[in-house]
Symmetry: C2
Subunit: 333 residues, 2 copies
Amino acid sequence: MTSSKEQYIVGVDLGGTNIVAGAMTADGSRHLAMRSIPTNSFVGDEGVADRIVGLVEGVILDSMEQTDCARRDFIGIGVGAPGPLDRERGIVLVAPNLGWKDFPLAKRIQERLNLPTTLDNDANCATFGEWWQGAARGGRNVVGITIGTGIGGGLIINGALYHGSSDMAGEIGHTTIDLNGRHCKCGNYGCLEAYASAPAIATRAREVLVREEGDSAIPAMVEGNFENITARIVYDAAKLGDPIASEIVKDTARYLGAGVANLLNIFNPDIVVLAGGVAEAGDALFVPLRAEVRRRAFSPAVNAMKIVPGSLPGTAGVVGAVASFKQQHLGGV
Amino acid sequence: MTSSKEQYIVGVDLGGTNIVAGAMTADGSRHLAMRSIPTNSFVGDEGVADRIVGLVEGVILDSMEQTDCARRDFIGIGVGAPGPLDRERGIVLVAPNLGWKDFPLAKRIQERLNLPTTLDNDANCATFGEWWQGAARGGRNVVGITIGTGIGGGLIINGALYHGSSDMAGEIGHTTIDLNGRHCKCGNYGCLEAYASAPAIATRAREVLVREEGDSAIPAMVEGNFENITARIVYDAAKLGDPIASEIVKDTARYLGAGVANLLNIFNPDIVVLAGGVAEAGDALFVPLRAEVRRRAFSPAVNAMKIVPGSLPGTAGVVGAVASFKQQHLGGV
């Protein structure tokens, strides 16, 4: 019985809708099998843990078929999950989208698969993935912002993921840009997330269209049912030159610009990477965003950095979970 | 000729009004002579550099009288100066309060005194000083906020001063808390500094008192001349229970609270230290400030930290300049 000398790590990206898992060589040079299944959070915390275990088993078997590796060549599992969490103890403290509270996810997986398992925040992982193998490669100090249902974030400092004093660092979506502004579901007012997340973009579009449809194509795109407006529809309409959609996207750039400018003045990164669906918005968003950031932040901070869309859509979280396992378990990436 | 085996470092805190310099043992255990002179920025950049050189000479001579050290026991000079600056090249890039542009301050001092000289941002130094020997001692990840004419800041990460990718990190005063808000002299709108710096507090008090004096004692305190209102007068009046002053201080706590909450959610520190005149505002400010932060930031981030007033008024900058010399020249504090 032979086995390659290479070592393998499995990364898991646990989301509210889907679980994605993939295997990589520990040096990151090769991606092996990747699989995705629905999260089905209604089965509860233990049930979802079972689903993750089954998914990882499948990925390991697929990988063994694809290459000459043996099961013992797999050295561990990195999991990215919604926070807040306690990395040290491998516990998801609160995950509203999953309905979890104080669930020892890492321990469950580790016991069942008999492999060292680390836990990290999903947005941290997405940022770390983009830094290790994606659009933020080569950055020394990196801010990652993931925009989807919520707005998450991650900070990389001198090439290592920064977690803060209680694993809460990087909650960029919940920074106040308008202290008397919109209520955010976190309880605060005027959070970036309340303006620039995908649902917030859809809400702002609805608010405008209820008052005036003008020449907008959006009502036709949703067959008159404003409930069906999504951020993607707004971005698509803006790309086609739709005037109301263009205004909404410009406003989004303004809000995001204020949030990014804050990070520049506080943290002075060399790369800001925007991941999630928003990365596909293209120039309609990125051009006014860059202009707004330049208007608001100090020039030496603006000149030191670039703002880029993520380049690993769908896989940044898995790649970053592997990187996080390496940082936490092997001491570096 | 004898000399102690101990080594000494001189710290310099260059402000718009005064220059303070002091000598310390390199291990920080003893403070020797400390001197202060007016900056007299009207003499120009070279003239101010001369003044610093003279001041440092005086501090070295004083120290030699106080202890058995010789001139050769002094190993270097750390200078804290208003930013933005280029640490590597020792250049103050722009200092509006001094009227400087691209002035090679570190080189001038180094040439004249023939001692290695490092440069760092003044607010960075104040934060580092509070961490090394003051109220932030023992912190792993520290946010320092210095509130005076402007609002500066510094970040300490894993016990080292963090400078960012172009020495611009920590510009906490210029984070947006109200993106459509007050114009800030940096050119941006709604910066924390535009609400919570000492002049901003005085301005807000003036704005209220022009409309209604109510029962306020402030008009009498300034003999009816509102131009003489300062932040200190507002704090003093609030301590005496003045209703309008109390409202102004509560509003200040709200603005500062939004700014500090942003830093908690982004950076998740274990200590936030507020230095400068505001540190003397006492409970009138700190009690509502802590409440506002708790309302706005995530609980795990709030619970991981404490907010404290600085404990080295007037000397944090000098102590931190010595610490910064150690970090930059000796590799660690």
